[in-house]
């Protein structure tokens, strides 16, 4: 057993930290956010040149075949600097599913992910699916050597600027059946697909998709027809684990910032960190960070375990890091007082990101319920 990062992983983390300091400085954040998607593509290219986009990709597609711990090391650093490029969607989730595709389209997309030339967004959630991955109403009607997809996807994570989408659609069965779900990769400019972009409060850029009889070739199918659900769960679990590393990175920064503030802010003639009630709250923040890190390791180290073990570990970690992350985010704002509640201070941006990470792929209540039912 070992809980230390390897030298390579430490180096990776250090490089991302340097990149974060250079490109995502809190002082420049407002201007950077105002620039939207275009500037993001430039930073994305730098990330490709650094080899990070290829990190999770399989070796046969020019990737580095990175382990879950490698991705964890990278994503923690992303979290520390609030790097908001769509790494998890494009480089963690999409390749996990593309690996089950066949033909030139997959080979081309994998290479384009590594080179930073495409971004790919998952589009699973529907207006009445809640967080349930199996609840798929979008229909894939077969005919003339392919399928036609129709339906609405209410949230494509990082979809606003995506060039491609991975879509869940039903090829058989009832709306909540696990069987009968198929996965398709479709281009943004596919006929019949309309993309409505929006941003969340953390400035991540998402989309709502409307599919009106979008034609897709059979070669766009990822995995076997009707049997997409287990792949979907596996890929989403990988995305969740990456998000959890990001959350733990956010939490650690909040802990450090809040502690530094308690030691410097003076009221009533003393530093406010001398007040016991604030000390104990700070201790609870520190405990929450330790616990979140333990859960992160639990999730990451079981990501390649069998399905039942993996699912329980991921849901347990998603639930607890959601809870502890929100606690640390909210209490960091509280201990900073009025200044913590401003948009100018970066503290509130970490809270916003932690709120959005909790929502992504099912919030803490959802995952706790999954854990309870399976137990």
């Amino acid at each position: 057993m070992n809980f230390e990062l390897s030298e390579e992983q430490l180096m990776l983390r250090e490089t991302v930290d340097r990149f974060g300091i250079e490109h995502y400085a809190a002082a420049n954040r407002a201007r950077m956010l105002a620039n939207g998607g275009a500037a993001g593509r430039e930073r994305w290219k730098i990330m490709a040149d650094n080899g990070w986009l290829a990190l999770p990709l399989p070796e046969m597609h020019g990737g580095m075949n990175g382990t879950p711990v490698d991705v964890m090391a990278l994503m923690e650093a992303f979290g520390r600097h609030l790097i908001f490029e769509p790494f998890v969607s494009t480089c963690v989730l999409a390749p996990a599913l593309l690996a089950y595709g066949s033909g030139e389209i997959v080979v081309g997309l994998m290479r384009a992910i590594a080179s930073g030339d495409v971004q790919i967004a998952p589009a699973f959630a529907e207006p009445d699916s809640g967080y349930e991955l199996n609840r798929v109403a979008t229909a894939a009607a077969s005919g003339d050597g392919g399928f036609r997809l129709s339906g609405v996807k209410c949230h494509a994570e990082n979809g606003a600027d995506a060039d491609w989408f991975i879509i869940t659609a039903r090829t058989r069965g009832g709306v909540a059946d696990r069987d009968g779900i198929s996965l398709f990769v479709i281009a943004r400019d596919a006929p019949g697909l309309s993309v409505e972009g929006y941003r969340s409060i953390d400035h991540h850029r998402h989309a709502r998709l409307r599919l009106d009889s979008v034609p897709v070739a059979s070669s766009a199918l990822l995995g076997a027809r009707n049997e997409g659900f287990p792949l979907l769960e596996m890929a989403v679990d990988r995305a969740i684990a990456a998000h959890l590393a990001e959350a733990v990175g956010c939490m650690d920064v909040l802990k450090d910032m809040t502690l530094a503030y308690l030691k410097s802010r003076r009221q009533f003639g003393v530093v406010i960190g001398s007040f016991q009630v604030l000390q104990h709250r700070m201790v609870d923040i520190a405990i929450a960070c330790e616990e979140a890190r333990s859960m992160l390791y639990h999730a990451t180290l079981h990501l390649e375990a069998d399905q039942v073990v993996r699912r329980r570990a991921i849901s347990a970690a998603k639930a607890r890091i959601g809870q502890t992350g929100l606690f640390v985010g909210r209490q960091s704002v509280q201990l900073h007082g009025g200044i913590g509640a401003t948009d100018e201070l970066i503290v509130s941006h970490y809270l916003k990101r932690l709120m959005m990470i909790d929502i992504a792929y099912g919030n803490c209540d959802h995952h706790r319920a999954l854990f309870a039912v399976d137990g």
């Binding site: 104990h280 616990e291 607890r320």
Partner: protein, 400 residues
């Protein structure tokens, strides 16, 4: 990236796997079905049970798992110790009695004389002696240094007068290690000495202090002209306060061993819920109950992982900081919540505490579940209250 073995992983070495097998078969051979079912049901072990278990461990050379080999410990690595504790929990073995093994033993082998080591240490391991801790007093709880029990030195012995309280198992103990005031100094921490007292010495009176579970765990101890040979002074006179420091680094082991028991407790809660029928189903089918149980199972998973990180980091030499205090806080919270959930699972059975006419037939897990829920309130009070633990973390780890 290479699949680097040196990186974060949960893999056991072949030697560790073999050790786990060895420990597992020891427990399988040693523990009686009666003993394990009592532990599993949340019953505190009888003293006779703990003594028998301790003697089995001692015979195997495992009586003092955390001690250095020269004093009779097995010389295990932290990982081996973790495996042992994990397997002990898994086998529903009773918890070893901590007062001798973890509280006074390490002080004796660190600060004691050769004669004290020879006289006391082997008898702790063999369970021939049973120690109790005489620290707290009516006016000295969390503020322990305010203690007033006084020891006056005469020719060859001290005369001790005063009162100790919360002295767990004093009524069964053969010896008490105690902090007494032998002088005064600038700070109230100076002038405190540590004495080892034979409980048969004249002048000691024990008054039972029933706790809220209506059981007799703890006592008040009155000391009236008790003569203690100077040979039973530990270390230097007036330096007793400082000897507790040696325990700080050991506490993580105690907290860890306890933390590993919660998942067993939760299995018992689950079983209790399954047995309480509601219509065609049971309490375990109740959605709210299930979510509460899931919450505790999830938090326990985190606690166990923290224990594993702590143990592994101590092998690789990373300073654990004050994670032992964190473990103590979280363990107390979770064991309390688990015990409370057990009583929730019982429904009306939780009201069946004691028969009035000898007729009522009680469920198997009552009244122990109720007593456990109440006794668990003490876990966030004893051994440094959770609020004191937070003070320690704030000061030592956060620099506040």
């Amino acid at each position: 990236m290479r699949r680097d073995k040196a990186a974060v992983n949960l893999t056991q070495s072949p030697a560790e796997t073999a050790f786990r097998e060895e420990v597992r078969s020891f427990f399988a051979d040693t523990l009686t079905r009666e003993s394990t079912s009592r532990t599993r049901a949340g019953l505190r072990p009888e003293p006779s049970e703990v003594i028998a278990y301790q003697k089995h461990l001692a015979a195997r050379g495992w009586g003092a798992p955390t001690w250095p080999a020269e004093y009779g410990g097995p010389g295990w690595t932290p990982t081996q110790l973790y495996i042992f504790q994990q397997e002990a929990a898994r086998a529903d073995a009773p918890l070893q009695y901590q007062q001798g093994l973890e509280l006074i033993g390490p002080i004796i082998f660190t600060y004691g004389t050769a004669a004290q080591k020879a006289r006391y240490l082997p008898r702790i391991i063999s369970a021939d002696d049973w120690w109790c801790q005489g620290y707290s007093e009516p006016g000295a709880g969390s503020d322990l240094a305010a203690l007033r029990t006084r020891a006056v030195r005469r020719a060859g012995y001290y005369v001790v007068d005063g009162q100790k309280t919360w002295t767990s198992f004093a009524h069964l103990a053969t010896h008490m290690f105690t902090l007494v005031r032998t002088g005064s100094g600038d700070k109230k921490q100076s002038g405190i000495s540590m004495l080892l007292i034979d409980m048969k010495t004249p002048g000691i009176r024990i008054r039972p202090l029933m706790t809220l579970d209506e059981l007799h765990h703890t006592n008040e101890v009155f000391l009236d002209g008790v003569k203690v040979p100077v040979d039973d002074l530990v270390g230097e006179e007036g330096e007793g306060w400082t000897y507790g420091k040696v325990l700080l680094d050991r506490e993580r082991g105690v907290a860890a061993a306890s933390a590993l028991r919660i998942s067993r407790q939760l299995l018992a809660v689950r079983e209790a819920a399954r047995q309480r029928l509601i219509g065609a189903g049971s309490m375990l089918d109740d959605a709210t109950f299930r979510v509460r149980l899931a919450q505790l199972e999830i938090e326990t998973t985190g606690l166990e992982m923290t224990v594993l990180r702590l143990m592994t980091d101590s092998v690789t030499g990373i300073d654990s900081g004050t994670r032992a205090s964190m473990l103590k806080i979280r363990w107390a919270e979770l064991t309390q919540q688990a015990a409370e959930l057990w009583t929730t699972a019982l429904g009306y059975d939780a009201a069946a505490f004691d028969s009035l006419d000898g007729c009522r037939k009680f469920p198997r897990d009552m009244p122990h579940a109720m007593q456990g829920a109440l006794y668990s309130r003490l876990t966030s009070i004893y051994g440094g209250a959770s609020e004191i633990q937070r003070n320690i973390i704030a000061r030592r780890s956060l620099g506040l």
